[in-house]
């Protein structure tokens, strides 16, 4: 019989997770642990924020969501709320199972339910998708963010918000191809799934993946998750889902949250999961060409104007001009018949 209660003591040595966790099925430590997700592991940072020169090479992680195993129980939502200490409001029923009705700054993940009459089989299907941050390899939020270091990407693929740096502009919300980040209207900071970066940093998987009763959500290295997905897809094909496949959209460089879909040919069946997401051209242009070109134009114009002001003579008013003016004024005043004189 093992000891039921353990008391962590301050004297316990600080251990550190050396690499990314390979599973969410483990019990978290209560001893102090050094985090391996910090500045040293940052590979991208918004708005030219600081990145590590030689980032810690962590194994790329991924969360795999197997929709064919998902029972829509919302344990992921519950675990997410509890781990992240959020407080979603108690709303009302509007004829849907989605509660809250959308992602919020207090609800980082949401089960979305779609009723689908499959025209090929004649069967009714209830497609339930866990929505949340996809942790894009090429994150649109990070690209759109104007605050240096407010959004970072770690070498394991996690895209995380550094809230101290967030200025609350909401550009990331516009930049996200999946419509994920949500503004906290009180703090004016944007929140989204962190992939439980605080857990991953000490070798634990995300709270949702650990909680998921049917292990429809699994967590591990991206390679392992891709292999697992292939196994699941094979099983699904054997059950008549000819178009089963993996959703790891390349338009955003692949994602660190992936789906196994029964109908991978039609992602939009799953409550409008984008068929082929990419960072919006508008955002790309805004953050691409507009910034340097605009800045260059302004800089050049300013410099040019300054140079011209400095080195050209300018358009000066001459003494003759003043004289001409006096003449003109006098002439004009005098030329008017019935003038009573100068009213100056």
């Amino acid at each position: 019989m093992n000891i039921p209660v353990t008391q962590a003591t301050a004297a316990t040595a600080v251990a550190a997770a050396t690499d990314s966790p390979r599973t969410a099925v483990s019990n978290p430590p209560v001893q102090p642990m050094a985090s391996n997700l910090g500045q040293a592991a940052v590979v991208r940072s918004s708005a030219g924020g600081p990145v590590a020169e030689q980032p810690t090479a962590l194994t790329k992680v991924a969360k795999l969501i197997d929709i064919s195993k998902c029972i829509g129980c919302k344990a992921c939502q519950s675990a997410c709320i509890e781990w992240n200490d959020t407080h979603p409001a108690i709303g009302e029923n509007v004829g849907l199972y989605e509660n809250p009705h959308d992602l919020t700054d207090q609800m980082f993940t949401l089960m979305r339910f779609a009723e689908y009459d499959n025209p090929d089989t004649g069967d009714f299907e209830w497609l339930i998708r866990k929505d949340g941050c996809m942790h894009c390899e090429d994150p649109g939020c990070l690209k759109a963010c104007p605050a240096p270091g407010a959004i970072v990407q770690y070498s394991n693929g996690i895209v995380d918000f550094i809230h101290e740096n967030c200025i609350g502009c909401g550009y990331c919300i516009s930049g996200c191809p999946f419509d994920i980040p949500r503004m906290n209207p009180v703090e004016h900071k944007v929140y989204k799934c962190t992939l439980c970066s605080d857990r991953v940093a000490v070798g634990q998987g995300p709270a949702c993946a650990k909680a998921c009763p049917t292990q429809a959500i699994t967590f591990g290295s991206k390679d392992d998750m891709t292999t697992l997905a292939a196994e699941r897809i094979e099983d699904l094909k054997g059950r008549g889902y000819a178009n089963a496949g993996l959703y790891d959209p390349q338009g955003v460089g692949g994602t660190h949250v992936m789906y196994v879909l029964q109908h991978a040919d039609k992602p939009s069946l799953y409550n409008d999961l984008p068929d082929d997401p990419s960072i919006s051209g508008v955002v790309a242009n805004w953050k691409g060409a507009t910034k340097p070109v605009g800045l260059a134009a302004v800089g050049l114009a300013a410099a040019g104007a300054a140079a011209m002001a400095l080195f050209s003579r300018g358009n000066r008013v001459t003494v003759e001009d003043e004289r001409e003016a006096q003449l003109l004024v006098r002439d004009e005043m005098d030329s008017v018949p019935g003038s009573t004189g100068r009213d100056v």
Partner: protein, 197 residues
């Protein structure tokens, strides 16, 4: 005069712009504002872990309760998570189990005995002593008045039907067994539990 002044003004302005630009380029802003990347502090550090069982359904998932002393010095639950060593749930929890912390710490937890007097519109506090004495007195009186020792045929039946007891569904075996002993010893037959529904 005007002209020169103007020109100086313009130069100043331009210079300020360039300076600001350079400062920005040099990382002036970041050094000032950007917090270095970090994750949230791991919140389970220095808590106590206790193995327990989810009290909801009969899958009986293994859970670990994380607790630490609250302001009053009493140990309070700060987090609950599935026990990955448990052979049935393997660390997983359903939406109820995953939110157990807010069950334990619910606002509607009862914290003191209350009594509602006949016809009253509200509960009022009562001490444990008074509450238990009232209950014991009522039981004794009712039992003495209504306990049936023999039936019409004179067969000893020793049953008490005017008091009933509805037992729980999530108490431990030990509580249930003690409850059984107490209820049966008094001859109460109106005894049932949640299994009925």
């Amino acid at each position: 005069m005007n002209i020169d002044l103007s020109r100086r003004g313009f130069l100043k302005l331009a210079g300020a712009g360039v300076a600001a630009t350079s400062l920005g380029a040099l990382g002036f802003g970041e050094a000032e504002a950007a917090e270095l990347a970090h994750v949230r502090d791991f919140k389970l550090v220095a808590t106590t872990e206790t193995r327990n069982t989810c009290p909801y359904c009969s899958v009986a998932c293994g859970i670990i309760i994380y607790a630490k002393p609250g302001d009053d010095g009493k140990r309070r639950v700060t987090h609950i998570e599935g026990d990955a060593d448990h052979p049935v749930n393997r660390g997983t929890l359903c939406p109820k189990g995953a939110a157990l912390k807010d069950f334990v710490n619910a606002e509607n937890r009862l914290t003191q005995p209350m009594i509602r007097k006949p016809g009253a519109t509200a509960f009022e506090p009562i001490t444990w002593e008074d509450a238990l004495d009232r209950i014991a007195r009522a039981l004794k009186d009712d039992r003495d008045a209504n306990f049936l020792q023999t039936n019409e045929a004179g067969v000893p039946v020793n049953r008490w039907t005017t008091t009933g007891f509805l037992a729980a569904s999530a108490t431990t075996n030990e509580t249930a067994y003690l409850t059984y002993k107490v209820v049966r010893s008094m001859g109460i037959v109106g005894f049932d539990n949640q299994a009925r529904v």
